[in-house]
Each structure stands twice: as structure tokens, then as C-alpha cells.
Symmetry: C2
Subunit: 311 residues, 2 copies
């Protein structure tokens, strides 16, 4: 980490104090150092956001900083991991102090909410590209994976879907009478960190919905070698999304739109009483492969497809 980059990170990304008990050494040396308590495994994830691909050029930098961290914390949540610390690699075309300051505010405010330390980074010149790697703790051998769904499991969502998709449509010009929550979900999603940790010992399989429910549940089905049937009437949808569907007829949107960052998980029926109250049962895991939707008694097959970067 050259001096100038160290100074940039120091100037814009210094947190009030090291918050997390696991951080032995933070920013400022060749590596950071973390202590991992006995009985835990380390969960690691990385996600990149690229200008004009994942966000628009004029995206509010404070919201962008929040969202970049949120999507990584959401990956930790989907394994049931408690977030510990992150590194941040920023490639940017020039040093725009107002932009960096707002970006850092959004990033660090969310980090502090979950006692996440920024323990390292790299700042380079180039097209705007943001990569976070997030580290979390999960009780040894108990992480929630995509491959552990069992036939007969109930399928749950941690919250409403489709609001982020509606938010995107609003930014693209759709006229919505209640835009606030949809825009908030699209621009500043809240990672389901607490729910994820509550699901350890309760859920069998779990994933976060970054690419749409159909696509992400599809990963669970593929990796667990099972199928599923969802019930349209049980899907948790906000009034704004219901109005959008009534208005446009586009009922598939909440099933395929990305960026919701809710958790989708499966639970054996005998553990259903342990599922947190705010979660909603939406279907059941079946032996027959594929993803089906029961809508007003008619069962249809859903195609499993997410956003393709190079299609």
C-alpha cells in the first residue's frame, strides 16, 4: 500500500475506533491481523460493483457506499455468519473529495452499525470499480449452505421481495404513488445479518436474493438436487409492488428482479416453530426437479435465470 494510497484511505476511511474484538491489527501495515476464536470458522466473500454495470454514473455516493458493503454483508448473512471485518479495493479515475467523503460516510455508517472494521484496502487509478471482501464468523461446521435443502422442507423469505425491482423501474421512469420504500430498498438495502445468525441450527439451506428469487432459489435446488413449488398467494409483497402488478400485469417481476437482499431458506417442518416471526413461508421443497409456481391453483414452471454479465 503506497504512501499516497495509505493517506487517501486514512483521510477518508478512518473509523472512530477499532470496534471488533477480533481485530488485532487494522490498516497501516502489509497485512491486517485477525484473531479467530476457538469453535468458529471464518466465512469469506467478495463482490465487485462497476460503474455503468452495477450502478449509474450519477448514483448518490453515500447510498453507493452503503450498498457496496450491504451486498457483501448479505453474503455473510446467508451463511449465518456474524460480520467481523472488510477490506476495500477502490479503483477510481481521480480523487473527488466530495464523492469520496460521501461514499465513505455511507460505507462506514453501515459498518459501524454491525461493528465491522475496515482492516485494509488498496486505492488505484482507473475506471470506477469497487471490490469488497468481507470476513465473518460462523460456529464450526454449522454454516448454512446452498446444498442442504431436503425434500419436505418449508421455504421461507426473510422479508418482502420486488421492492428493489420496483425501485429500479421508478428510476427508469415508472410513475409510482408510493416510491419511498422501493427506492430505499433499491439504493440502500439492509442486509439480513441478524436473521442469518438466528437461522443457525434452524435452517437447512440458505441463500441471499441478489439475482432474483427464482434464480437464487434455483441455486439451492441445483446444489441440493431437489425441486420446489412456491405459492403465489403466500409471497410477501408490499402494497407498492401489489399496485405495480395491478397497474402493469407484470406479476413475474418480484420473482425475477434482483437486488432484494432478503434471505431465502429452507426448514424441516419439525423446526418450523423456531423460524423468526418476521419470516414468511412461501413454498415447499419437492423431489421433482425444477421450480414451480402455484398461482390461483394453476401450477406453472418458472425459468431459473439471473443477470448474465457476458451473455
Amino acid at each position: 500500500m503506497p504512501l499516497s494510497e495509505f493517506s487517501l484511505i486514512q483521510r477518508f476511511f478512518t473509523q472512530q475506533a477499532v470496534k471488533n474484538a477480533s481485530t488485532c491489527l487494522g490498516i497501516g501495515d502489509d497485512c491486517a491481523l485477525l484473531a479467530i476464536p476457538n469453535g468458529y470458522e471464518l466465512a469469506i466473500t467478495t463482490d465487485t460493483m462497476v460503474e455503468n454495470v452495477h450502478f449509474f454514473k450519477d448514483t448518490n455516493p453515500e447510498q453507493l457506499g452503503h450498498k457496496l458493503l450491504a451486498v457483501n454483508l448479505s453474503d455473510l448473512a446467508s451463511m449465518g455468519a456474524k460480520p467481523l471485518s472488510v477490506t476495500l479495493a477502490i479503483t477510481l479515475p481521480s480523487v473527488n473529495e466530495a464523492w469520496l467523503s460521501a461514499f465513505a460516510k455511507g460505507f462506514l455508517t453501515l459498518a459501524e452499525r454491525y461493528s465491522v472494521d475496515l482492516i485494509g484496502g488498496d486505492t488505484t487509478a482507473g475506471a470506477l470499480t469497487l471490490t469488497v471482501q468481507a470476513l465473518g464468523l460462523v460456529p464450526r461446521g454449522r454454516a448454512l449452505t446452498r446444498s442442504a435443502a431436503k425434500v419436505g422442507d418449508f421455504i421461507y423469505l426473510s422479508g418482502n421481495i420486488g421492492d428493489a425491482g420496483l425501485g429500479l423501474k421508478i428510476t427508469q421512469g415508472y410513475d409510482c404513488t408510493q416510491p419511498d420504500n422501493a427506492l430505499k430498498q433499491f439504493n440502500q438495502p439492509d442486509p439480513a445479518c441478524d436473521t442469518g445468525q438466528m437461522l443457525i441450527g434452524v435452517a437447512n439451506a440458505c441463500i441471499d436474493i441478489s439475482d432474483g428469487l427464482a434464480s437464487d432459489l434455483g441455486h439451492i435446488l441445483q446444489q441440493s438436487h431437489v425441486g420446489a413449488c412456491l405459492h403465489w398467494e403466500e409471497l410477501p409483497l408490499s402494497d407498492a409492488v401489489l399496485s405495480y402488478i395491478q397497474d402493469t400485469g407484470d406479476w413475474i417481476m418480484p420473482l425475477v428482479a434482483g437486488d432484494d437482499y432478503q434471505l431465502c431458506f429452507t426448514v424441516s417442518p419439525e423446526k418450523a416453530s423456531l423460524v423468526p416471526n418476521h419470516c414468511q413461508k412461501i413454498g415447499i421443497i419437492e423431489a421433482q426437479h425444477g421450480l414451480r409456481l402455484n398461482k390461483s391453483g394453476i401450477i406453472q414452471t418458472l425459468e431459473v435465470k439471473g443477470y448474465e454479465h457476458f451473455s
Copy 2:
């Protein structure tokens, strides 16, 4: 990690087998999972390489894959950490199969040499930007930092300096009669992983030379609140670098050129006998701040400056 990206990583970056005993879960879920043995801390570093900044557009992709991993392993080496695993975030303008295949070969060949597992990644569309995060193990409380140099310590290098700088000059047109080693050091540096681990319990402070000896030793001096004097005649220089200096008069090059990826470390005189034989003593830590060079009996002050991305 959307399906298409997962497939890209699976197609090009699948290793023969999981090599590292710490890897509980590799690529394919929302997070990877690592077991950290008792008595160790986790060392974490991240480095980004950007086309036209860190490497040229026509850089050999196999060498690039090697170098991207090498610079990150070098950061682990400088803390005395044994490398465990890495994540790789690739942003690339399009899927060029020949390029990706060669890049992966360079990356994975070096990874396998050190039993490093590629445990996760993200593949996105955009300007060519490559970020690695590397994880390693270091005995608890014994990592080598920049801040632990003491007055009276001897200063060492793990190997020759200036060869990578000469390699850069050769690619820019300098006519060298013995170019092979210099180009190898510039394009495919070897991280000093083994030396770094041998220095645990021996060295006080340590850093890897990515931005030039003067700049990186400068970090040790600043963070340890000390100064240093180097002896020109003791610097380990290859015949090719000596010829270059004789030819051009540019004797400062090996002190300020980057990309050497040797370790520079300090050792108390009573532990000097424990320093590995291939390392070379080059100077001494002094109470007087600043970096000085004794060249043929004349002492001059060296400016401490590395590559500035945004100067």
C-alpha cells in the same frame, strides 16, 4: 455470484483439488469457509492491478496471472505468514477465452506451488481490473510488522534489488546484454514466502519492497520512529544491474525502482547468526530520523518516495 460468473470461474479457475487443510468450503456458495487452527492469527491483504496503470495492454496474461498473485503473497511473506487461500475479483471487458485461460494458468501454477486455494471470486464486466485478497496464517502475536525496528538493528535484504527496475527499462527500450533475469523479475517475481516464515522470531520489523527500497524502508522508519544508514557497497546487485549503472550512471535506480518483491527486515545484532544465509546485510537502524546512504565514505540523505497514483 450469478450463474454465468460461477460458470466462468468454474471453467477457467478450477484447481486440481482443494490443497489446503484449512479450506472447509471453496468456490460455489455465498461464502467460502476456513478453519483457523488454534494458536494462529489470520493475516489479510488485498492488492489491485489495473490495465495501463500496473501493466500494459499487451502484457502476457500468464505472466500477469502469476504477478497478481505474487504481489499479494509477498504481502503475506512480509508479515511472516504462511499463505492459505485467496479470492479473485476480475473485471474484464469481454470473455477472451485464450486470455482467461493463460491468465488462469499463471495464477494457478503459482497458487499450487504454495498450496494456496482459490476459494472465491467475482467476475464482472468493465475495464480490466484485477483484485486479489490473500489470507495467511501467522503464529499468534508473532507477526512481523513495520513498527518494531529498534536502534542498533541490522538491516537485511532477502535478495537482489534493481532487477525488476532494469526489466521495466528493457521493456521501454534499454539495450541490455543480459536481459533474461531482469525481465523475469519484472514480469514474474517470486514472492519470498519461505524467507518470510523463517524470519518469525528472528526479525524485528519487515516489509516487502514493492515501491522501491527507499520508499518501503521509509515506512519501517516512520512507523518505528527511527532512522537508518545503508552502505552502498553492501547492496546486493546483479551483474546486469551493475552493468546498467556503469553504462548510465543511474546508481539510484535500484534504491527507488519498484516491483522487486524482496523482503527488507531488521534484526537485533544478537540474532544476526539466525538470519538465513541467502539474505544480505545492507545497513543499520539509527536513532537519527531519515534515511542515509554511505557511498564510498560519503554520507548522503535519500528522499523517501514511492509511486504516487494521484500526484
